[in-house]
């Protein structure tokens, strides 16, 4: 601090108590992806869970819906410094995919159509993570991760993997795509666990 920009006043003067440090309020919905958007039909969609012992379960679209989706209203925070407050989603809680699964895993590696991966801490995400397929009352657009993405809003948004199609339970933490590229293993926006 201590460097002022003479003549700069800034436009967004509203007081926003819900913004984590370094974030600004965004009204649009920016897209951050490293590659082309995969276009996946719901009819072809599948999600596979693998436990640390190699046990597998899969859900197609209807089977995923049968797990019981819920409405979610949450703030989201992208590591590129924008936040959106009060977004609404519909999705199936992560817990439902784990019902009856025998596991001692502490972490989950989410994998996606297109090859993206990201690691998520399991315990702290139970009740706070979903497989989401509607945004703002509509089917999730492909560029925002449709047909379905992970939604882990208590962490920076790169953890909310778009086009999710696999969940691999792990005993030990292991870096996903951005994490191998220098981003935080955890990614808590309130502690500014960003990338460098």
């Amino acid at each position: 601090m201590g460097i002022f920009s003479p003549g700069f006043t800034g436009r967004r003067r509203e007081h926003v108590p819900d913004l984590p440090p370094g974030q600004y309020l965004e009204r649009g919905f920016p897209v951050l992806t490293t590659g082309p958007t995969p276009h996946i039909d719901r009819r072809d969609w599948q999600l596979t869970l693998t436990t640390e012992t190699g046990e597998r379960r899969s859900w197609n679209w209807q089977q995923m819906l049968d797990l019981g989706p819920e409405e979610i209203s949450t703030d989201i925070h992208c590591v590129t410094a924008w936040s959106k407050l009060g977004t609404t989603w519909r999705g199936v809680p992560l817990d439902r995919f784990l019902d009856g699964v025998e596991t001692h895993a502490q972490y989950v590696m989410a994998g996606c159509y297109g090859g993206y991966t990201t690691n998520i801490p399991l315990q702290e995400s139970l009740g706070r993570a979903w497989v989401a397929f509607e945004y703002d009352g509509r089917d999730l657009e492909p560029e925002h991760g449709g047909p379905a993405r992970l939604l882990v809003p208590h962490l920076y948004f790169w953890k909310s993997a778009k086009w999710v199609n696999s969940l691999r339970l792990m005993r030990e933490d292991s870096p996903g795509f951005w994490e191998q590229n220098g981003y935080s293993m955890h990614g808590d926006p309130w502690r500014e666990e960003r990338y460098w």
Binding site: S5, G10, G22, V31, G182
Partner: protein
């Protein structure tokens, strides 16, 4: 861990178009860059209010001072200040550079296809300049889409490199074309990409950068033409196309 904010002094500036400006910044504490990386810029008002945005570096990898080129978004908070107000000799704060994914290094032998929409040309120019600085020989193509001829950044430099056969450049104008231009105004189409761009068989590394809508369209066309999605790297600058 987040890199610290460090001071940067505007040492020189030039207009690239009537509404965009290249800022030459001396930031001795900033880390050396890779081609394709961006920095965060932070402005602070007198009452302590701050705003920050990301800007790609246009200057070749590792060089100082660093350069960014900012396009003025008319109702924007930060870009009008950087284009119209920040005076030579004044300071801002920068952080980074960061982002290790959308980068290119001159030791890569693969042919390179660069696809730019508007100010998305900035990090691609850093790649072109890095290749020049290194005397690189990887084949390189640039497809560069802008609204009008006046909107082109770095035109003289690009034309000169093209004239010497260093890169293959094709401009696409979406609103108005120069007099005598052999093509009509219009967006990048799959046919145009098929006609100009290297074939998927040559397995180029592809970098697509620009407004979100542009990147979505161009990257989807490239995948449908048979380019390997894992070889296509994208950077999306903003919400509008």
């Amino acid at each position: 861990m987040t890199a610290p904010w460090v001071p940067a002094t505007l040492v020189d500036a030039r207009m690239e178009t009537p509404w965009s400006r290249t800022l030459v910044l001396d930031a001795p504490e900033a880390r050396p860059s890779l081609a394709g990386q961006s920095i965060d810029v932070r402005l602070t008002a007198e009452d302590g209010y701050t705003a920050q945005r990301s800007y790609s570096l246009a200057s070749p990898a590792g060089t100082r001072p660093i350069e960014i080129t900012v396009d003025k978004i008319a109702d924007g908070e930060v870009s009008p200040y950087l284009v119209d107000q920040l005076g030579v000799g004044h300071m801002i704060e920068v952080r980074g550079p960061g982002g290790r994914f959308f980068t290119w290094t001159p030791d890569l032998p693969d042919p390179v296809l660069l696809v730019a929409g508007g100010s998305g040309v900035v990090p691609l120019m850093a790649m072109i300049r890095t290749r020049e600085a290194a005397g690189g020989t990887a084949p390189m193509q640039l497809l560069y889409s802008v609204r009008t001829p006046e909107g082109l950044f770095y035109r003289d430099e690009l034309d000169e490199l093209a004239a010497r056969g260093r890169i293959d450049v094709r401009y696409v104008f979406t609103r108005t074309v120069p007099a005598g231009w052999p093509h009509q105004a219009g967006r990048i189409t799959r046919e145009l990409l098929a006609d100009f761009a290297m074939l998927p068989e040559h397995d180029p590394l592809v970098y697509v950068c620009g407004p979100t809508g542009f990147v979505e369209a161009a990257a989807t066309h490239l995948v449908r033409l048979g380019h390997n999605p894992l070889r296509i790297k994208t950077e999306r600058f903003g919400p509008t196309g």
